[in-house]
Symmetry: C2
Subunit: 394 residues, 2 copies
């Protein structure tokens, strides 16, 4: 007799990104695959001072259990930051600390979705979110996007004609995988529609602070008058992902449900990691660090875009992100970026093929490029090789 697994396990397979990362981890590989920050910019010395201070001042507290919500002072710091960076007026009581934003995505689907409920999202969207949501066995409805993000007429049409829509998942700032950002009027239109249909929104914002040019856009949550928007934030991209610390910001009646899921699924996020990041914010200048990231990633983006202009054939169309970690490339219809990925990997260059970012999985002509993790020389070299492989296979 074979062991019987739950039906959700039929939908869950290894993420193609994580499988690729395993290969791309070899030092000789030029990897544009993961969404990894530049490790050479991590403020290691400052974090060492922060953790030393925590161990000296509150070592026993750091090593003990703590509340499911998270430390109050830490949540105050996060509330202050959301006000300053995202225009969101909120309160520590509306914040729950999670083990990274990925956990927030998992909790969101579990709070809102029964099997066969509908999740509406941008097409394409973050493959890790699709994977998190699949564990709840929903149906996905993809809304087409243009250079300004989700197309609101399509969203309206879908909401008007679709039953059981339980949540809308969006990444309005430097979207993963396209790097695109919704302008203000699109955000206002979106909130007008959402307010009419009263559907909860998951606003995933890991990259919002990494803007290279132009003005910050207000978060959807800052335009939320009905308590429908659940905002997911994280320290993974502005400080370090290794601590696995993110947060959920939502109105009380929704946040309480996230708290219940958190109690069931994990009890709490790491006590030590919360105190260490909190201490880093108290002792040092996170804004200055984020400026450093912005300036480094801007240069890398510039190098990548310039290299693509030179090395890619004219038929390859790519986005010009104003921030974040990713650019998105579309090749002519007959091209298959899964096949190309293998050929690139043989030449020690890695990217993520695009089909995983579409729930339908039927688009094989796109791929995602990360520019935060490789230095400028390696970006030039890697893009040259990808360009060569594309040309050889056109």
């Amino acid at each position: 007799m074979a062991i019987q697994f739950a039906s959700r396990m039929d939908l869950l397979k290894g993420s193609p990104i994580r499988a690729l990362l395993a290969l791309a981890n070899r030092p000789e590989v030029i990897s544009f695959a993961g969404g990894m920050p530049a490790p050479e910019l991590f403020p290691v010395k400052q974090m060492k001072t922060a953790v030393e201070t925590v161990m000296d001042e509150q070592g026993r507290t750091a090593m003990q259990y703590s509340s499911t919500d998270g430390f109050f002072h830490f949540r105050e710091q996060i509330a202050d930051r959301m006000k300053a960076k995202n225009g969101i007026n909120t309160d520590p009581c509306n914040i729950l600390i999670t083990s990274g934003s990925q956990q927030g995505l998992d909790y969101a689907a579990r709070v809102f979705c029964d099997p066969d409920d509908v999740i509406v999202l941008e097409s394409p969207s973050y493959v890790g979110a699709l994977n998190a949501f699949k564990a709840c066995q929903p149906r996905f409805v993809e809304i087409p996007t243009d250079e300004n993000g989700m197309i609101m007429e399509e969203l309206e049409r879908v909401l008007a004609t679709t039953e059981r829509v339980k949540m809308i998942y969006v990444i309005p700032d430097f979207q993963n995988p396209t790097g695109r950002t919704w302008p203000l009027d699109r955000r206002q239109q979106f909130m007008e529609i959402v307010n009419r249909y009263e559907i909860p929104v998951i606003e995933d914002n890991p990259y919002g602070e990494l803007r290279f040019e132009g003005e910050n856009m207000p978060a959807l949550k800052s335009l939320d008058t009905k308590g429908l928007v659940v905002f997911l934030g994280t320290f993974s991209k502005i400080l370090a992902p290794g601590y696995r610390i993110g947060w959920v910001c939502a109105d009380h009646n929704i946040l309480q449900k996230f708290n219940y899921i958190a109690q069931a699924a994990a009890l709490q996020a790491s006590t030590e990691a919360q105190l260490v990041i909190s201490k880093y914010i108290d002792l040092f200048n996170l804004d200055a660090h984020v400026s450093l990231l912005r300036s480094c990633y801007r240069k890398r983006r510039d190098v990548m875009l310039a290299a693509m202009e030179t090395e890619f054939p004219a038929e390859a169309v790519f986005t010009h992100p104003n921030g974040g970690l990713f650019a998105w490339v579309e090749l002519p219809e007959h091209m298959n970026t899964n096949e190309l990925a293998k050929k690139c990997l043989e030449k020690n260059v890695a990217y993520v093929p695009g089909d995983g970012f579409f729930p339908s999985g039927t688009n094989h002509r796109c791929f995602r490029l990360n520019y935060s993790n490789m230095n400028e020389d390696r970006i030039r070299e890697g893009i040259r090789i990808i360009g060569q492989v594309i040309k050889e296979n056109m």
Copy 2:
């Protein structure tokens, strides 16, 4: 229109323990409620050295993303420990690092259970596991227990007559909440039955190393010839819970499913916490630390049992645990330990009422006492007060 939540949310409420802990956290409260280690025994200085070493030697690695499975060397250390402490011959490749054992419980239910599937467990069982499992909307079937744990004739009868049993959840060592340990013959009987029915077993073992007297029992996993047992381990009770580091040990076909759920739900456990605990194990003597815990908790257990002998009425029956963190008290049938808990809390003493440990929730005469977190004087004083409240309400 009210926001619609998933049907699982009807089952999930705040854990009574976590709500109680919020009140019991006031310093004037003598709390026997949580399962918290003694904070004064945390090896704060050594952990500070460990984290300093990690930040000096591998700071960038510690702050970066890492694999879903966990660091290989860390999993080697855990495999070695499982062999030495639990008699389990295993391999780093059969180990997945989790954010605490609670996450392992959550993953287990999601790997094996669809709604209305059956989970078989000891009666009573760990309330946090019940809560984790409820998110998958299973049915629970409780197997009666005696002083030697689960009664095997009852297990056999249930498995022979119950459809859709997808997993069996047990805590054979110093069970939460009763403190009871299964003797060897009971373990052998259990594995014989399980092998016949080929049902996956979740063996939760957070307390096994905290034995005060008598011989270590082999883990069920060490008796597993068919790859049915999933072993959950954790550093929460032998080192510190604040880092949220536990692990799952299972055969490949099962562990792969846990890996898929982990990718979807969290990506990975904290990189930093894995490296810090791994470094602590390399630099210091975890066995010596566990000896210290054993000797302290043994004294505290002795003090608690002696105080109960003196202060509780003869009608109160309680367990005599040979290890772990908990004792379990049963009062006469007409008593209600929820009511008594409120009266005790008015006198600044806290315990956890027993009904939450029964899925049926119908047993109101029991309660759980933790003896690891309070010093001996406070244990004597707290038991005196509980004894007084019991007598006043008999």
